[in-house]
């Protein structure tokens, strides 16, 4: 059996975000987030649209929870069901990087604003989540949504700020295949 392996530098999970208004089209595509990546190192070498490559990810969960409508018929012993609209969200935890969280000095988009401002201002973002990295042929989840659930926390035992993050997904995920890396 094959499995999605995120354990090497080439296949690290990546989460990239831009402002949704910076997308070229109505739905996000790979080139909205970066224009160059390396098939050798697995790194995103040139971001597009001032994207944030979220650093310090500790875990990430992709939620695709379909609703269900059930009904009973007198001629059947079991219930019938169809699935209805899904609640989609992307959640995880990350260690706060000052630049990614508070924004950069320069830039024109998400990177300049930073994750906190994108959340605080309720800016719609587009995201790309690469469960097995961005080398050619790897699958990519993309979509748009809003950042929520930020709760930076520090404690005496762990003096490094860590925060949960959720992207409440607006509509469906788009599944793509990485093709930019060289």
């Amino acid at each position: 059996m094959a499995y999605i392996n995120s354990s090497s530098a080439l296949t690290r999970v990546k989460l990239v975000m831009i402002k949704a208004k910076d997308m070229a089209g109505a739905t996000p595509v790979e080139s909205d987030f970066y224009s160059a990546a390396s098939n050798t190192t697995g790194a995103i070498t040139t971001v597009a649209n001032d994207a944030i490559v979220v650093p310090g990810l500790q875990d990430i969960t992709l939620n695709n929870a379909n609703g269900a409508f059930r009904w009973k018929q007198l001629d059947q012993a079991g219930e019938n069901v169809i699935t209805t609209n899904a609640s989609n969200s992307l959640s995880g935890n990350f260690v706060l990087d000052p630049t990614a969280f508070f924004g950069a000095v320069t830039g024109t988009g998400a990177g300049k604003d930073g994750i906190f401002k994108l959340s605080n201002d309720r800016v719609q973002v587009a995201f790309l989540m690469a469960p097995e990295g961005v080398t050619d042929g790897k699958k990519l989840f993309m979509g748009t949504g809003f950042i929520s659930a930020l709760a930076p926390k520090v404690s005496a035992d762990s003096p490094v700020f860590v925060s949960p993050i959720t992207v409440e997904v607006n509509g469906d995920y788009t599944l793509g295949t990485a093709a930019i890396a060289a």
Partner: protein, 130 residues
Amino acid sequence: MRTELLAYFSTHLTGTIKLSGELPWEQGGQALYRQNLKRIYVDDEQTVKSVLQPLLSEDDIMQTVTTVRCYLAMDAKNKSSDLDATLAVFAQARTQSGVTNSFRNEMDITTELDQSVEIYTIEYRFYTVA
């Protein structure tokens, strides 16, 4: 951190219990502190790195625990009159020795008897993010 502790002890130990700048090496099969009573010996630093925050990337956030052990021996039948003051200095050194980049400082004092000599082992542990 050994340097900071040595500097703190040399400033604050003014009684009959003195500080030695030497490491507690052995001579004739016996540690120096066991031979030279009422002398404090500060051993070299031991460091252990462990993961503080695991990340999906390869650059986990690490913590370093630096352990420094100090030794003091004295005649159990005739303890020094300034022993209590010396133990207070040991306790104060945990937070006041000038180690500024640690987020947690711990200290233990343990004693053991070797014939008529009581040996104090003072262990400091400084936790830093590295």
